[in-house]
């Protein structure tokens, strides 16, 4: 005789899967090449607890409208490709779960302060060229491998000074959230400034003066008003606002 408590109740497969809900996904549509005005297309999308905004957009692309323009790659918040405004806040689409938005309507728009290529895809040329201008690499004449000198040793304290800034994935969310970037098209931006700090604070680097000269400009570091929006939206926990303030310390003579 079988003990009733040990019997596993029969279940239908639909009971195992969590119930599906539906949201309205509003996607901003525009194509500057064809001079089309911005409009919103609405789609009803089923979602699960784990569905991300990127999943929902790809669902639209797959089954409802193939022409939606979106950039994505890794789907795990590593490549920094799928930055966009989700319900008004710059976020990574692959890192934002619909269930966490607590809204029946999810509006996705291209990031602010970037030129729109099409729909949700924006151009990163300016951000990348500014990033490159600030020499994002270790400058040290002794960095070439020489006999007897293969590595530069750092203490954990040395690493602690810059390590969080090394997590930047160049997604551009900080630049999108920055109020100064909205009005000053020549402003270097929090992404590049935080990266400048990352190398200036690195004990192996000898290019501090070169970088400080670049950021000490009329559209450089002093145009930051310390709104702090950049740090709030960073998906990797980088604090560009703090990096900018620390970098200012070098220029104002508080740090060596």
């Amino acid at each position: 005789m079988i003990d009733e408590r040990l019997q596993i109740p029969k279940t239908e497969s639909k009971d195992i899967i969590s119930p599906t809900k539906t949201i309205t996904l509003r996607i901003s549509r525009s194509n500057p090449k064809k001079n089309t005005e911005q409009k919103f297309d609405e789609f009803k999308i089923p979602y699960q607890k784990w569905t991300t905004v990127l999943d929902a957009i790809l669902e639209v692309k797959k089954h409802l409208d193939h022409s939606v323009g979106v950039r994505y790659s890794c789907r795990q918040a590593t490549c920094g490709s799928c930055g966009m405004k989700i319900n008004g806040r710059p976020s990574l689409a692959c890192f934002t779960k619909i269930s966490e938005l607590k809204s029946d309507v999810v509006t996705v728009e291209p990031m602010n302060n970037f030129p729109i290529i099409k729909d949700l895809a924006v151009g990163f040329e300016r951000m990348f060229s500014t990033h490159k201008r600030l020499k994002p690499y270790i400058i040290n004449e002794e960095s070439e491998i020489k006999p007897g000198k293969k590595e530069f040793l750092q203490t954990p304290e040395d690493v602690e000074k810059y390590i969080q800034f090394a997590s930047c994935i160049k997604c551009g969310l900080c630049n999108s959230a920055c109020p100064t970037m909205a009005t000053d098209s020549s402003f270097i931006g929090p992404q590049a400034l935080a990266q400048a700090y990352r190398y200036v604070a690195d004990s192996r680097d000898k290019g501090k003066d070169e970088r400080l000269k670049i950021i000490d400009d009329s559209h450089g570091i002093f145009r930051c008003h310390f709104a702090g929006s950049c740090s709030q939206v960073c998906p990797k926990g980088v604090d560009p606002a703090m990096g900018i303030q620390l970098l200012r310390g070098y220029l104002l003579g508080f740090r060596d």
């Binding site: 009329s218 559209h219 002093f222």
Partner: protein, 114 residues
């Protein structure tokens, strides 16, 4: 001039202005506010040379700070080489004119020309 030096001057003038304007307000409190604004009282203040000197310093500090602030705001509003040069030189000229006109008033009153 490098932007960091300009901003050091900007922050310095702000701090010095706060200190000196506080002294200026404290002087107003030594007598009734309405009384301190009477013609004779104002003239007497200007004729007291250390006080007139302090007003001159406040004028210079606030002009430098204010017009540099205006320059920064205008540079953030619009960009372009020609525009930025005209904003910079325009602000320097406006600052110089303000200091000259304010100093003229202080000197004329201090030396009894009014």
């Amino acid at each position: 001039m490098r932007e960091s030096l300009i901003m050091k001057i900007h922050y310095g003038t702000a701090l010095a202005s706060v200190a000196l304007v506080a002294v200026h307000i404290l002087f107003r409190l030594t007598q009734g506010f309405a009384e301190s604004l009477q013609y004779e009282s104002v003239i007497a203040n200007y004729k007291f040379l250390p006080y007139a000197g302090m007003l001159e310093i406040i004028l210079i500090l606030l002009s430098i700070h204010g017009f540099n602030g205006l320059r920064v705001i205008l540079l953030e509003l619009k960009q372009g080489t020609g525009y930025e040069k005209s904003v910079t030189y325009g602000c320097i000229a406006a600052m110089a004119l303000t200091i000259l006109y304010g100093s003229r008033t202080i000197f004329m009153t201090s030396f009894g020309m009014v």
